[in-house]
């Protein structure tokens, strides 16, 4: 692989719980990916803009505030408008199972629930980016 996988790790919503986002960002970096971390409290617009500007292969959204059903579909919409809907969109945080089907319907590639290992996330991104490039 000559091109490094680029990932945007983003924290939308008002919650400040960045432990997970920072651990995932560092694990992806340790796995050789290029990671851009947005910092806290980014609006869906800011996240979509950053994804376009940084031309990323994947976006990881971390949200623990319970506002995912409002915020995540809006990010999906904005990405579609930017023709970025081929970008992998991963969501982590406190996401109840019953919310997952609607999030996937809206365009989320995968939801990683509490307890997910960073290795699983690394492997998921590698496998999906590889199939996309073929």
């Amino acid at each position: 692989m000559d091109k490094r996988i680029r990932v945007l790790v983003a924290k939308p919503g008002l919650d400040g719980h960045d432990r997970g986002a920072k651990i995932v960002a560092r694990a992806l970096r340790d796995a050789g990916m290029e990671v851009i971390y947005t910092g806290l409290r980014q609006t869906p617009e800011q996240i979509a803009r950053a994804a376009v500007q940084e031309d990323v292969d994947a976006i990881g959204i971390s949200i623990l505030s319970g506002a995912h059903n409002t915020i995540v579909p809006r990010i999906c919409e904005l990405l579609r408008a930017e023709r970025m809907d081929d970008v992998l969109l991963l969501v982590g945080g406190i996401i109840p199972e019953e919310d997952i089907p609607a999030l996937k319907q809206a365009g989320v590639t995968e939801v990683f629930q509490p307890g997910a290992s960073t290795q699983d996330i690394v492997e998921f991104i590698r496998a999906r980016v590889a199939t996309k490039t073929i």
Binding site: G13, G16, R19, R26, T70, I94, S117
Partner: protein
């Protein structure tokens, strides 16, 4: 990496076990296949296979422990501890609308809860009204939505404010939310000199860990100083600050980091208030603390004991406090939210029981036990009832409260307490060398230390060096078996309608002049509390007051710490 602590037998020990046959076998035991290779606490502190009198060679009962209620208070702040009065059972609650939370608070009191603790939603914590664009999707989700005095009146409806103590988890806008509480008390005829409770009001740990900050550190510290000095004079039984390690631990710190950063935060507040001209004994007796209770029973107990000892010494020796009440580290404990697993949620009841026991054995003044469903959502009524029952079983069935500090004299617990204390002093010295906690925060020191610890722990989990039952071992593929609380989006609509109505009906001229006076005072060094109280009485909203302060103080963005 997999260095085996168990084979390090201390040849230097002078201690001879009474019965060598029974005493020697566990010492030589090597871990069985598949068990964690390292014998360390949850925070990674090595633990010996056996502790003996040799580990306490220089131990001095009077210097290191003292009786309960005596300096340095290692054994507890009261002589009789729970024989005199049980800890306050205080379940943190808040969700949806002020009506929803008011009903939950009344329910909890009816179930035998002895204090109140209110959680606010994220827009409130960040100083936005429920109808602000950034509040969309967040109203009532992580706590109750409070945008004005009108909401606070509903939230506290029918509660006996002179009898019950209320704790409020609010930080950046703490002065404003506290002012709302005080005005409700005033309107109900409750005497400010009689009411008691706690505002968390600990902004330093927001920069360090929880990250719900609005303004930059300096003006934020000024707001804290204003509330502490105002409280000391006007609301003398109120705890104007609860210096919190809880969130530091939740962000992934070790037990020692939690302890050291919290106590150093406390020292920073003491120094700022003293610089503002107040004598330490005028306010230190009302400073309170808030610690986490994580899974490692003995590590947690040692942490609480060390906390009391270090704080007593700091207040007496470093700040010259003369009133013994200034030396007391009084603290609330909450079981560790981050230890709860979404998988096999009933296991959380067991974890919470062990953690609660640590808090009680560690001499906490009040306790919150988490509910089994909180890795998924805010707790349902049945889950929170079980969590309260957990405390009641410990209090009334376990026998633990019958004697004070029952673990004192344990070679292990005393050694661990001494080690925790020493490691805490090391951190305090490092932060002193950086120029204090505000300077350390601006340099990103505690933030980096916590991130390192969190990442190390995550890697230990992924290598199964540390085990979480149901997550990286003993895994099943069961689907979630419990019901969870869902917050209706109607709460946000209802809150917005109420705000629109409020803005239509209140005395607009009074609101404007109160806000203008607040703006004027914010630019001086006058105490802001009287101005905030006036805005609150005029029904200015939280968002309006915070907007005024945002314009004067500016806002804070965390720099990227490499």
């Amino acid at each position: 990496m997999t260095k085996d602590q168990a084979v390090e037998i201390e040849p230097r020990s002078k201690y001879t076990p009474a019965d060598p046959e029974t005493a020697s076998s566990p010492v030589h035991e090597t871990p069985s296949e598949g068990s964690p290779a390292r014998f360390t606490t949850l925070s990674g502190v090595p633990v010996q296979p056996l502790y003996t009198p040799d580990d306490l060679a220089d131990f001095d009962y009077r210097r290191d422990l003292g009786d309960p209620g005596e300096y340095p208070f290692t054994r507890g702040i009261h002589r009789t501890m729970y024989r005199g009065k049980l800890w306050t059972m205080r379940q943190f609650s808040g969700f949806g609308s002020p009506q929803d939370t008011n009903a939950r608070l009344h329910y909890l009191l009816k179930q035998g809860q002895t204090g109140l603790s209110i959680a606010f939603d994220l827009p409130t914590l960040m100083g936005y009204d429920s109808d602000h664009p950034l509040a969309e999707g967040e109203v009532g989700k992580c706590g109750v939505a409070i945008s004005s005095l009108a909401d606070m009146e509903v939230l506290l409806g029918g509660l006996p404010l002179e009898q019950v103590t209320t704790s409020m988890t609010i930080n950046s806008p703490a002065a404003i939310i506290w002012a709302m509480y005080l005005v409700v008390a005033e309107k109900n005829g409750a005497d400010w000199k009689k009411i008691s409770g706690t505002t968390q009001n600990d902004i330093l740990k927001e920069y360090i860990a929880q990250k719900e900050y609005i303004f930059p550190p300096e003006p934020s510290m000024r707001l804290v100083v204003d509330t502490i000095t105002f409280g000391a004079r006007e609301v003398p039984r109120w705890n104007p600050i609860s210096i919190s390690g809880y969130h530091i631990r939740e962000a992934g710190s070790t037990a020692v980091q939690e302890l050291a950063f919290t106590l150093r935060d406390g020292m920073e507040y003491v120094e700022w208030v003293m610089r503002a001209g107040m004598d330490v004994d005028e306010f230190a007796p009302r400073m309170s603390f808030f610690f986490n209770a994580h899974n490692d029973l003995f590590e947690e107990i040692a942490k609480y004991r060390a906390a009391r000892k270090v704080w007593a010494r700091v207040c007496r020796e470093r700040y010259g406090a003369k009133n013994p009440r200034s030396w007391l580290c009084r603290f609330h404990t909450q079981t560790a939210g981050c230890s709860l697993t979404a998988q096999q949620p009933y296991n959380n009841v067991i974890r919470t029981t062990i953690q609660a026991l640590a808090g009680v054995l560690g001499g906490t003044q009040s306790l919150h036990t988490n509910s089994l469903d909180e890795a998924w959502a805010l707790p349902t009524e049945s889950a929170v009832t079980l969590a309260l029952r957990t405390q009641q079983v410990i209090a009334h069935e376990s026998g633990v409260p019958n004697t004070v500090d029952p673990l004192a004299g344990s070679y292990f617990v005393e050694k661990l307490t001494l080690e925790t204390e020493r490691a805490c002093w090391d951190y305090i010295e490092r932060i002193d060398a950086l120029g204090g906690m505000v300077a350390a925060v601006e340099k990103g020191f505690p933030q980096r230390e916590i991130h390192e610890a969190a990442y190390t722990y995550q890697r230990q989990l992924e290598r199964k060096e540390k085990i979480i039952v149901g997550v990286n071992e003993f895994v099943t593929d069961e689907k979630r078996s419990i019901d969870i609380l869902v917050i209706d989006e109607a709460v946000a609509r209802h809150q917005s309608e109420k705000l629109a109505e409020l803005r239509r009906t209140r005395d607009q001229a009074r609101v404007q002049s109160a806000l203008e006076a607040l703006r004027g005072a914010a630019g001086t060094d006058r105490n802001l509390m009287p101005h905030i109280l006036e805005c609150v009485r005029a029904y200015a909203t939280l968002g309006e007051m915070c907007d005024v302060l945002r314009r004067v103080f500016g806002t804070y963005e965390e720099p990227a710490f490499g």
